[in-house]
C-alpha cells in the first residue's frame, strides 16, 4: 500500500501539469457540489482547497512540486484583478450617481473593522504586534502586507488572516447579508468588497454585475482608506 502510494506520489510530483490539473479538477468538484446540493460549505474555493490539501497529504507531495504547476494559475491573478475594470466601467454611471453613499458606507465598514479588532484585542489582551497585524485583515493581500510591515506587525500571520477572511466572506457573505436584510445589489457589493477584498469579490461577481462592480470598487477604496486610517488605530494600543 505504502509503496504504491509513493510511486503515484513521485509520478505526480514529477509532472509539471499536476498542480494546475489538480487545482482545476478539485475546484470543479466544488462547483459541481455547489450546483447539486445547496449546502453553504460546498463553496468551490473551500472545497478546492480542502481536496488539494488532502491529495497532497495522501500522496505525500510537497507544496513546491504542486506549486510548480499551480503557480501558473496565480500568474493570472493580476490580469484577472485588472479585468475588474470591465464591470466597474459598465456600472460606472450608477456608482458615480451614488458616490457619496459608496464612500460613506465604506468608511463605516473600515471603521467597524478597526473597532472590532480593537475590542477583540482588548478582550484577549493581545500584544501590540498581533493587534496591528489583525487591523489589515480585510484589505487585499499585497496592500495588507505592506501596511502590516509599516505598522510593525507580523506579515506571515497577516497573509493567513487576510486570505482566510476573504474565504469566510466568499462562503458566508451571501447568506449573512440575506439574514440581515441587505438586499440592494449595490449595498451587497460594497459590503462584500469592504469585508473580504478580492476573494469575496470573485463570489460577488457570480451574484451579478452590479454586486461585482461595487465589490471591485470597494477593494480599491477600502485599501486606500485602511492605509490612511490603520496607523491611527495602531496608535491606540502601545
Amino acid at each position: 500500500m505504502d509503496a504504491w502510494r509513493e510511486t503515484v506520489g513521485d509520478a505526480l510530483s514529477a509532472n509539471v501539469y499536476f498542480g494546475a490539473v489538480a487545482s482545476i479538477f478539485c475546484y470543479g468538484i466544488g462547483v459541481y457540489l455547489q450546483k447539486r446540493y445547496r449546502f453553504i460549505l460546498f463553496n468551490p474555493i473551500l472545497i478546492g482547497i480542502i481536496l488539494v490539501v488532502v491529495l497532497l497529504k495522501v500522496f505525500r507531495i510537497d507544496f513546491a512540486s504542486y506549486d510548480e504547476g499551480a503557480s501558473h494559475l496565480n500568474y493570472l491573478l493580476t490580469p484577472a484583478t485588472v479585468a475588474l475594470a470591465i464591470p466597474l466601467y459598465k456600472q460606472f454611471e450608477a456608482l458615480k450617481k451614488n458616490w457619496k453613499v459608496t464612500l460613506a458606507s465604506i468608511c463605516v465598514g473600515v471603521l467597524a473593522n478597526c473597532a472590532v479588532v480593537y475590542i477583540t484585542a482588548k478582550l484577549f489582551d493581545l500584544e501590540r504586534v498581533y493587534y496591528v497585524t489583525c487591523l489589515t485583515k480585510s484589505i487585499t493581500t499585497a496592500i495588507g502586507m505592506g501596511v502590516t510591515e509599516e505598522l510593525g506587525g507580523d506579515v506571515t500571520i497577516a497573509v493567513v488572516m487576510i486570505i482566510l477572511s476573504g474565504i469566510c466572506g466568499a462562503v458566508f457573505g451571501e447568506k449573512t447579508l440575506k439574514l440581515f436584510h441587505v438586499t440592494d445589489p449595490m449595498a451587497q457589493g460594497l459590503a462584500i468588497g469592504t469585508a473580504s477584498h478580492a476573494i469575496g469579490t470573485s463570489k460577488a461577481l457570480e451574484m451579478g454585475e452590479t454586486v461585482g462592480a461595487s465589490s471591485g470598487l470597494a477593494i480599491v477604496v477600502t485599501g486606500v482608506l485602511t492605509v490612511v486610517l490603520a496607523p491611527f488605530f495602531a496608535g491606540l494600543i502601545g
Binding site: 487545482s23 474555493i45 478546492g48 482547497i49 497532497l56 507544496f63 504542486y66 494559475l73 496565480n74 493570472l76 491573478l77 493580476t78 490580469p79 484583478t81 485588472v82 479585468a83 475588474l84 475594470a85 470591465i86 464591470p87 466601467y89 453613499v101 458606507s105 463605516v108 465598514g109 473593522n113 472590532v116 477583540t120 484577549f124 498581533y130 489583525c134 485583515k137 480585510s138 487585499t140 493581500t141 499585497a142 496592500i143 507580523d154 497573509v159 486570505i163 482566510l164 477572511s165 469566510c168 458566508f172 449573512t176 447579508l177 441587505v182 449595490m186 449595498a187 459590503a191 462584500i192 469592504t194 469585508a195 478580492a198 470573485s202 461577481l205 461585482g212 470597494a218 480599491v220 492605509v227
Partner: protein, 119 residues
C-alpha cells in the same frame, strides 16, 4: 486573433501597472494600479470594451480558482496562528461578517434616504 489581441491588451496593462508600482513608493500592488489604468483607458476610449470583453470576462469567471494555490500554500503557515488562535478565529469569522453587515446596512440605509430625498 481576436482572443490574442484581447489577452495582449490585458497583459500590456498588467505590464504597465508593474512599472507604475516600481515608480510609486506605496504599499499598493500592481493589480490595483492595473485596474485603475484599464478603467481610465475604457472611460477615455483609449481601449474599446469590445477589444477586451470576452477574455476579461473569462478571467473574472475563473478568478475564484486562482485563489486555490496561494491558500494551499498556507498549510505550513497555519502554525503561525497558534499563539493567537482564539481571537484570530473570532476575527476571521465574526469580525469579517460584522464588517460586512455594517457596510451593507449603512449603504442600504444611505441609499434609501437618498432615494426619499430625490422623490
Amino acid at each position: 486573433m481576436k482572443y490574442l489581441r484581447q489577452i495582449g491588451v490585458i497583459l500590456l496593462v498588467s505590464f504597465i501597472a508593474e512599472l507604475v508600482r516600481l515608480l510609486i513608493p506605496a504599499p499598493i500592488p500592481a493589480s490595483i494600479y492595473g485596474l485603475i489604468i484599464l478603467f481610465l483607458c475604457l472611460q477615455f476610449r483609449i481601449v474599446k470594451l469590445e477589444s477586451i470583453e470576452e477574455t476579461g470576462n473569462f478571467l473574472l469567471a475563473i478568478m475564484p480558482l486562482l485563489f486555490v494555490p496561494p491558500t494551499v500554500g498556507l498549510i505550513d503557515k497555519w502554525q503561525s496562528l497558534r499563539s493567537i488562535a482564539a481571537p484570530a478565529v473570532l476575527l476571521i469569522i465574526f469580525g469579517t461578517l460584522a464588517t460586512m453587515v455594517a457596510t451593507g446596512a449603512a449603504a442600504q440605509f444611505f441609499l434609501r434616504r437618498q432615494d426619499r430625498g430625490n422623490r
